[in-house]
C-alpha cells in the first residue's frame, strides 16, 4: 500500500457556484487536451453536473470510499455503465449508407442508459419552486488522498512541490483499488492500456507557469487556482480569510483541495404565488449535506456582503468575486501559453 507524504505547498481550486453556468467548457477543454486516445473515450476528468442529481458516475455520492474517523472505508468500483457516455455513432450508415430514413443517427458504442451529464438541468423541487445549480468536479488533489494509500503498486504520489496527486502510469497495473478508495469517484479505467487515469492537474502546463485548462478556459470566470499559503491570493482569501469557499463532502475525510462558493438561489414562491423574500429555494439541509455545517456561515457572509454592496458600501469580498482583472484568478500561473516556443 502506498504512503502519503505531506507536500510543502498545496495548490487549490475554488469554484464559484453562483457564476458556474454548466457550460462544460472546462470539461471540453480538458477532454481536448488529455483524453483523446483509444481507451479514454468515456473519460471526463473534469465534469459539471446538475445538483441535486446523480451525476457521474451515476449515484457517486453514495458509493463509499474515503475515511471514517481516520480509517479507510470500503468503496464501490463504479461500472462503465454508471460512468456512462463513451458514445460513438453510425455516421457512415446514415450519411453514406443509402438507407434513407430507415436509419437515424444513434449510438453504436458506450452506455445505453447514462452519460456524464445525463441529468443536466433536471434538478429537484416542484414547479414553481424547482431548484438546481451546477457543480464542476475534478480530482480533489486531496491532502489525505485515499487513492494513494490504496494503491498496491506505489503508483500514486502527492507532488511535494504543489500537492497535486499524480499517478505514475508506468507503475500502475490497473488494480483499481484507487477508484474504490476515492469517495469522489473521479478515477477512470483505461481498458485499452489497462491503467487507471484521472486528472493530472495539468502539470505540464503548471510547470511552464500556465494555469490548468479548466481554470484558464472558464468563460464564466467562476474558477480560481493558487497556493493555499499565499495569503494575498484570492484562493487563500476566499478559503481562509472569508471562509466562503468550502470543500465538498468534508465528511469523506480526504481533505480535498477543491473548494466551492455555495450557491444562492432565487426567492421561493409562497403558496399564493408571491415572493418569499426570506425563504430558501435550495434547502439549507441539502447544502449542508454537500458542504457540511460551515455552509450556513458561508451563505450568511455572502448575503451580508451582497447587501452591503447593494447599499452602496464597499466590500472586498464582492470585489474578489467580481474578478475585475481575470488574470488574478490564475494566481502565479499567468503565463500565456501561446508565447511558449517548444524547442
Amino acid at each position: 500500500m502506498g504512503t502519503i507524504t505531506a507536500s510543502k505547498r498545496q495548490l487549490a481550486w475554488v469554484f464559484d457556484l453562483n457564476k458556474c453556468i454548466g457550460c462544460q467548457t472546462c470539461s471540453v477543454a480538458c477532454k481536448m487536451l488529455w483524453t483523446q486516445d483509444e481507451g479514454t473515450e468515456h473519460q471526463w476528468w473534469m465534469t459539471v453536473n446538475t445538483q441535486p442529481g446523480q451525476g457521474t458516475p451515476k449515484g457517486w455520492e453514495t458509493m463509499g470510499g474515503g475515511y471514517k474517523d481516520g480509517k479507510q472505508t470500503p468503496g464501490k468500483l463504479p461500472t462503465p455503465e454508471e460512468f456512462g457516455g463513451g458514445w460513438d455513432y453510425n455516421y457512415q450508415e446514415v450519411l453514406r449508407g443509402g438507407k434513407g430514413r430507415d436509419v437515424h443517427l444513434e449510438k453504436t458504442a458506450g452506455s445505453k442508459t447514462w452519460g456524464m451529464n445525463w441529468d443536466e438541468d433536471e434538478g429537484a423541487g416542484e414547479f414553481p419552486n424547482s431548484y438546481y445549480f451546477y457543480l464542476p468536479r475534478l480530482c480533489n488533489h486531496c491532502t489525505q488522498p485515499g487513492c494513494v494509500e490504496a494503491c498496491p503498486n506505489d503508483a500514486l504520489y502527492k507532488d511535494p512541490e504543489n500537492g497535486l496527486v499524480l499517478r505514475n502510469e508506468d507503475l500502475c497495473k490497473g488494480a483499481q483499488m484507487c477508484a474504490r478508495a476515492c469517495p469522489y469517484k473521479k478515477i477512470y479505467f483505461n481498458p485499452a492500456r489497462k491503467v487507471s487515469q484521472q486528472c493530472i492537474g495539468c502539470f505540464p502546463r503548471i510547470e511552464q507557469g500556465v494555469a490548468p485548462a479548466c481554470v484558464r478556459q472558464c468563460p464564466g470566470r467562476a474558477a480560481w487556482i493558487g497556493f493555499l499559503d499565499d495569503a494575498h491570493g484570492p484562493v487563500a482569501k476566499l478559503v481562509n480569510q472569508w471562509k466562503v469557499a468550502l470543500p465538498l463532502h468534508p465528511e469523506f475525510e480526504t481533505k480535498p483541495n477543491v473548494y466551492y462558493i455555495p450557491p444562492l438561489s432565487p426567492a421561493p414562491l409562497n403558496a399564493d404565488g408571491s415572493w418569499n423574500e426570506n425563504g430558501d429555494r435550495i434547502p439549507a439541509s441539502y447544502l449542508e449535506s454537500l458542504f457540511g455545517q460551515p455552509v450556513h456561515g458561508a451563505v450568511d457572509t455572502l448575503k451580508t456582503e451582497m447587501a452591503k454592496r447593494r447599499s452602496g458600501q464597499p466590500s472586498e469580498l464582492m470585489d474578489l468575486l467580481v474578478m475585475y482583472k481575470w488574470e488574478e484568478a490564475l494566481g502565479h500561473l499567468r503565463r500565456d501559453p501561446a508565447e511558449i516556443v517548444w524547442s
Binding site: 453562483n18 457564476k19 453556468i21 454548466g22 457550460c23 462544460q24 467548457t25 470539461s27 471540453v28 481536448m32 487536451l33 488529455w34 460513438d88 455513432y89 455516421y91 457512415q92 450519411l95 453514406r96 443509402g98 438507407k99 430514413r101 449510438k107 452519460g115 433536471e122 434538478g123 416542484e126 414547479f127 414553481p128 424547482s130 431548484y131 445549480f133 504520489y157 507532488d159 499524480l166 505514475n168 508506468d170 502539470f203 505540464p204 502546463r205 484558464r216 478556459q217 468563460p219 470566470r221 467562476a222 444562492l264 426567492a267 404565488g273 415572493w275 454592496r309 447599499s311 464582492m318 468575486l321 467580481v322 474578478m323 475585475y324 482583472k325 481575470w326 488574470e327 501561446a338 517548444w342
Partner: protein, 932 residues
C-alpha cells in the same frame, strides 16, 4: 519519497503527457458563425500540419476602469471546434447524388463536373423561368456567403435573413426604427437591475453571462421572467414564472403601476417618445401637417405646449425640446385646414386609457402570477438603471411584436435607454465597410477606397434634397431602399434580397395553413388572404418581388452554410412535397453533410475555420476586428468558400459562352451580361488570393475610419484583435446611434439621448403609437396583450416552446461527438415531472409529439423546472438524429402574423433585414404520445 516524487515528473508517462501539450504552430482563430456576439479571440494550436486544439486567447484589455475585462471569452463549442475538422460527417470531395434525394448514396466527382452541372442548371433556369427561379437561402455564416458570389452575377434573389432565420425583434423595430440596439457586453456590469426576459443567456451567452453574475456582486439585482424555471433563473435574485405568451400584459401592468404612481420619467417621455404627439379623437390618427395646412407634410406631427397652450409642430430634425413643455395630458381642440375643428389628445392619454385594462390584479390573472410581484418589480424598474436582457425568443412568438413593444414602453417610461447600464438587446451585428465595399471601389488601393467613400457621401447628399432633416442613418436606409426598388442589392456585400414570405406562400405551399383560422389571431377582422391581397394591390411589397412568385417556379435551390430542412418553420413535409419536385438542382455547400445536404443533388465541400483566412462576425458586443487566420490547408479537395463562389461564376461564364448566351433580362426589365463575370467579382483578378483580399480589407477599414490608421494584416497577426474606432457607413453599425469611445463601455442610442438626433421612425421619435390603418383595425395601435393563437391545434394539451441551446450553434455542433457526449447525445424534449407521470412517460423514453401539421419522435427529459403544460425543445437537433428524421420544425405551422404584411407607412415598408412578414414558431399547441 523524494526519489519517487522526482520519478513523477521524470518518468516516461509524464513525458507522454508533456508531448500531448506541444505544438509547432500557433495562429489566431475565431468562429464566424451566428452565435452572437461570436468573434471570440482564440489561439489555434497545430502540430504536424493538423490543428490539435484551440484555447481562448484571453488577451482583451480592460476598457473602462472599474468594469471587468472580457476574458477569457469563448465556450465549449469553440474549445472543440477543430474536432469537427475530422468528424465523420465532414465532406472533403464534391459529392453527386447517386440514389434518390435523401437516400444517402453518393458518387465522388471532380469540381469541374460539379460546377458544370450546376452552372448548366442555373442557365437552364434563367432560360426557363428567369433568374428569380434560382433561390439562394440567406444563412448568417459570413464565411459561407462568398460561395454565393453567383447571385451578384445572375442577380438572382436571396431570401432575407429576417424571415429566413428569424432571429430579429419586430417590436423593437416598430418602436425604434432599428431592431438591433445592443450595448457592449461589459456594459451589462453597470446595470442596477437586469431583467432576463425572453432570453436564456446561461445557454446562449456563455462567453459573457459573467457580466450578469458580476453585476449582482456589484450591487445589482437580477430578475428572470420566464414560464419555466429556466437555466437563466437559477442565478437570479427572483424568478417570475409567467404564463406562456403573457409578457405584454406583465409589461403593460408595470407601466400602469409606474404611471399611476407618478414615477415615470416625464422629461424622457416628452423628449424621446411619440407619447406627447397629438392624436385625433375622430379617427385615432395622429394630427398631421397635411390636416392642418394646405401643402404641409403628411409626416409633420404636433404637440401642445403646456406653457403657452399653443399647437406646436414637433421638430423633425431634433429631439431637443428647447423652451417647449409638450403636454402629456388633456384634451384640446384644433382647427383643421378646412376650418372645421377636431378634438385631439396626446398619445399618452390614449396610453393611459389602454392601461386601464392592466391593473396588477387583472394582469396577474392573465400572467398566472401574483399582483404584488408586478408592483414590486415595477417600482424597481422605475428607480434603477435597468436593462432587459432579451434575445431572439420574443420575436418568434406570433404576438412577439407586442411583447417587445410593451417591454420597450416599460424602458421608455422609466428613461432606461441611451445611458450606461440600461437598454435592451436583440440580435446585433455591424458590417465592416472594408469587406462590404471591396468591389465597389473599383480598383486596388486605399485612394480608391477614399474616392468611393467621397462619392457615396456625395450621392447621399442628393437623397435629402426634399428633406434636409434626414440624418446620416436615415439616408443610409433610404439608399438601401432605393436599391431594392431598382432590383439590386441594398449595398455592400448584400445581394438582391426578397422577403421570402411570398415565395413561401405561393411556391412552398403555405396558403392553406396561413388561412386556417386556428393559426391566426381570432380578433382579425378579415381573412388572411384579404389582407394579403390588399397589401399586394397597394404595392406595399412590390420591391420585394412579392407578386413574381405567383408564377415563377423555383428551379435551383442553393444553400451555403445552412440547413433549410431543419430550419424552415413548417417543416420538411411541405417542402419535400411541394417545392422539391419542382427543383431541378439542389446544392449544399458545407463542410459537413447535414439533412439538407442529404436531400441535395450536390454537396460541395467547403473549408473549415482555420483552413482559410477570415474574420469573426463583426460584433457590437465587443467591438473588435477578430482575425481567423489560416493554420492548415483545406483537406483533400475541399476549397474555401470564396474559391467555390468564384469557381462557379467562372463556370457559368464559360458555359454561357459555350451555349451562346450573352445576356438575359430579369423581371425588373434590367438586362444583365453573362460576360466578364469573374473579373467583375475580383477587381479584375486582383482579389483572387485570400491573403491579398484580407490585407486589402483591413487597410480599407483603416481608410474608412473603422480601424486605427496603422491597421494591417501584419498588425492583426500580431494582436489578433483590433478594436473599432468607428462604424463606417453600413447601416447596422450606424443604427447603434452612439459614438464608440476607447475607454467606455458602449451603450446605444446616445446620439438620441445626448445629442438629440431624431430616430429613424415615421414620427422621428421612439414610436409606441402606430396609426397605420391596419394597426388601428387590429387594436394594436398601442401595445396590447393578446393570447397566442391556437396554432398546432387549439385543443391540444401542451404548448411547445424553444430556444437556442447550450450545446450547438443550431445543428452545427450537434454532430460533434465531443459535444454530444456532454448532453444526452440524442434529441430530447423537456417535460414537467407531473405531466410525464400522468402520461406514464419515463425519463429518456422516445415519445411522439403531434400537432395538426405533423409529428416528430424525440426522447423525454423530465424535470420539475418545466412549467406544467409546457414542453421545451431546444433548437437545433439535426433531423436525421430523430427516428423518421422529422424534427421540431415539422410540428410547427410556420405561419406569419398578418400585420407583418403592413406597409406604406414611414418605417413600416419593406426594408431588408428590418421589416417584413416573419414566421412564428413558439407556443405551438402539441400533444405528447407514448410510442407503442
Amino acid at each position: 519519497m523524494t526519489q519517487q516524487a522526482k520519478q513523477i515528473t521524470a518518468g516516461a508517462w509524464a513525458d507522454r503527457y508533456r508531448d500531448k501539450w506541444k505544438w509547432d504552430k500557433v495562429t489566431w482563430g475565431s468562429h464566424s458563425v451566428d452565435c452572437y456576439p461570436g468573434g471570440c479571440p482564440w489561439r489555434v494550436y497545430s502540430r504536424d500540419g493538423k490543428v490539435v486544439r484551440e484555447e481562448q486567447a484571453a488577451r482583451l484589455p480592460t476598457i473602462q476602469q472599474g468594469v471587468p475585462d472580457m476574458n477569457p471569452m469563448g465556450c465549449q463549442k469553440g474549445a472543440s471546434w477543430c474536432h469537427l475538422h475530422s468528424s465523420p460527417d465532414r465532406v472533403t470531395r464534391p459529392l453527386k447524388r447517386a440514389g434518390k434525394r435523401g437516400e444517402g448514396k453518393w458518387q465522388e466527382v471532380s469540381w469541374d463536373e460539379a460546377f458544370t452541372d450546376i452552372a448548366d442548371a442555373m442557365l437552364d433556369a434563367i432560360q426557363d423561368q428567369g433568374p428569380e427561379s434560382i433561390i439562394n437561402l440567406m444563412t448568417p455564416e459570413p464565411g459561407a456567403a462568398p460561395a454565393r458570389a453567383f447571385t451578384f452575377a445572375l442577380n438572382s434573389p436571396t431570401t432575407d435573413g429576417n424571415a429566413e432565420f428569424q432571429d430579429f425583434s419586430p417590436g423593437y423595430y416598430i418602436t425604434w426604427g432599428i431592431f438591433n440596439p445592443v450595448s457592449s457586453m461589459d456594459d451589462w456590469f453597470l446595470a442596477e437591475l437586469t431583467l432576463i426576459w425572453h432570453c436564456n443567456p446561461v445557454y446562449t451567452n456563455i462567453h459573457w453571462y459573467h457580466y450578469v453574475a458580476e453585476s449582482r456582486y456589484n450591487g445589482g439585482e437580477v430578475v428572470t421572467i420566464a414560464p419555466d424555471f429556466s437555466p437563466s433563473a437559477i442565478h437570479a435574485d427572483y424568478h417570475m414564472p409567467v404564463k406562456i405568451g403573457s409578457d405584454a400584459a406583465l409589461a403593460l401592468s408595470m407601466c400602469k403601476v409606474i404611471i399611476d404612481a407618478g414615477i415615470y420619467n416625464k422629461r424622457f417621455v416628452q423628449e424621446q417618445t411619440d407619447l406627447p404627439l397629438l392624436v385625433r379623437k375622430d379617427n385615432l390618427r395622429f394630427l398631421r401637417g397635411s390636416d392642418v395646412a394646405e401643402g404641409d407634410r403628411d409626416d409633420q406631427f404636433f404637440w401642445m405646449d403646456d406653457r403657452s397652450q399653443v399647437l406646436t409642430p414637433a421638430p423633425r430634425g431634433t429631439l431637443a425640446l428647447a423652451d417647449v413643455e409638450p403636454a402629456l395630458e388633456g384634451t384640446y381642440t384644433v382647427t383643421l385646414k378646412d376650418g372645421s375643428t377636431v378634438e385631439v389628445i396626446p398619445a399618452f392619454e390614449r396610453l393611459k386609457e389602454r392601461l386601464k385594462d392592466y391593473d396588477p390584479e387583472t394582469a396577474a390573472k392573465i400572467c398566472e402570477t401574483h399582483p404584488d410581484m408586478i408592483r414590486k418589480l415595477a417600482r424597481k424598474v422605475a428607480t434603477r438603471k435597468t436593462k432587459i436582457f432579451s434575445g431572439w425568443n420574443s420575436g418568434k412568438y406570433y404576438h412577439g411584436d407586442l411583447y417587445e413593444r410593451s417591454m420597450a414602453l416599460l424602458l421608455g417610461l422609466t428613461g432606461n435607454w441611451g445611458k450606461q447600464g440600461t437598454g435592451t438587446r436583440s440580435w446585433a451585428i455591424s458590417a465592416l465597410d472594408g469587406s462590404s465595399f471591396a468591389l465597389n471601389k473599383g480598383r486596388m488601393g486605399q485612394d480608391a477606397a477614399r474616392e468611393w467613400l467621397n462619392n457615396l457621401t456625395k450621392a447621399r447628399r442628393f437623397l435629402n434634397q426634399d428633406d434636409p432633416t434626414l440624418t446620416l442613418e436615415m439616408l443610409t436606409y433610404r439608399a438601401s431602399q432605393l436599391a431594392v426598388e431598382r432590383g439590386i442589392g441594398p449595398g455592400g456585400l448584400l445581394p438582391r434580397m426578397i422577403p421570402p414570405a411570398f415565395l413561401w406562400y405561393y411556391q412552398y405551399g403555405y396558403k392553406e395553413r396561413w388561412n386556417n383560422p386556428d393559426n391566426n389571431d381570432p380578433s382579425m377582422k378579415r381573412t388572411f388572404d384579404e389582407y394579403l391581397n390588399e397589401a399586394l394591390e397597394r404595392g406595399w411589397w412590390d420591391s420585394g418581388l412579392a407578386k413574381a412568385y405567383q408564377d415563377v417556379t423555383p428551379r435551383v435551390l442553393f444553400e451555403s452554410g445552412g440547413n433549410m430542412l431543419r430550419r424552415q418553420r413548417g417543416g420538411q413535409r411541405l417542402l419535400l412535397e411541394k417545392l422539391w419536385p419542382e427543383l431541378k438542382m439542389i446544392v449544399s455547400v458545407d463542410f459537413r453533410i447535414n439533412t439538407t445536404g442529404l436531400h441535395s443533388d450536390y454537396i460541395l465541400p467547403a473549408a473549415q475555420h482555420y483552413e482559410k483566412i477570415g474574420m469573426g462576425m463583426p460584433s457590437v458586443h465587443h467591438l473588435n476586428f477578430v482575425l481567423i487566420d489560416k493554420a492548415v490547408d483545406p483537406p483533400d479537395l475541399a476549397m474555401n468558400d470564396y474559391d467555390i463562389g468564384i469557381g462557379l461564376v467562372r463556370k457559368i461564364e464559360e458555359r454561357a459562352a459555350e451555349r451562346g448566351m450573352t445576356e438575359f433580362t430579369d423581371r425588373n426589365g434590367t438586362v444583365h451580361t453573362l460576360k466578364n463575370l469573374v473579373n467583375d467579382r475580383t477587381l479584375n483578378g486582383a482579389l483572387l488570393d485570400e491573403e491579398t483580399r484580407m490585407a486589402e480589407e483591413i487597410k480599407d477599414n483603416a481608410a474608412y475610419g473603422i480601424l486605427p490608421p496603422d491597421s494591417t494584416l501584419e498588425v492583426a497577426r500580431q494582436k489578433g484583435t483590433i478594436r473599432w474606432t468607428g462604424w463606417g457607413l453600413v447601416g447596422h453599425g450606424l443604427g447603434q446611434s452612439s459614438t464608440i469611445k476607447p475607454d467606455e463601455t458602449h451603450n446605444p442610442f446616445r446620439w438620441h439621448t445626448e445629442d438629440k438626433l431624431p430616430y429613424a421612425t415615421l414620427t422621428r421619435r421612439a414610436q409606441f403609437y402606430i396609426d397605420h390603418e391596419w394597426f388601428l383595425e387590429a387594436g394594436e395601435e398601442l401595445p396590447v396583450h393578446k393570447e397566442p393563437p391556437g396554432h398546432g391545434g387549439p385543443k391540444r394539451q401542451f404548448k411547445m416552446t424553444s430556444g437556442h441551446n447550450r450545446w450547438s450553434i443550431h445543428s452545427m455542433n450537434l454532430t460533434n461527438n465531443i459535444i454530444m457526449n456532454t448532453h444526452r447525445g440524442e434529441p430530447f424534449m423537456f417535460i414537467n415531472n407531473k405531466d410525464a407521470k400522468a402520461k406514464k412517460i419515463e425519463n429518456g423514453e422516445w415519445v411522439r409529439v403531434v400537432s395538426d401539421v405533423g409529428s416528430m419522435l424525440i426522447t423525454a427529459k423530465i424535470s420539475p423546472a418545466v412549467r406544467p403544460g409546457q414542453v421545451i425543445v431546444y433548437n437545433g437537433f439535426e433531423p436525421y438524429m430523430h427516428k423518421e428524421w422529422y424534427s421540431q420544425a415539422d410540428v410547427e405551422v410556420g405561419h406569419v402574423k398578418w400585420l407583418g404584411l403592413a406597409g406604406g407607412y414611414g418605417h413600416l415598408q419593406y426594408r431588408p433585414f428590418h421589416w417584413q412578414p416573419i414566421p412564428a414558431d413558439r407556443a405551438v399547441h402539441v400533444d405528447v404520445e407514448k410510442v407503442k
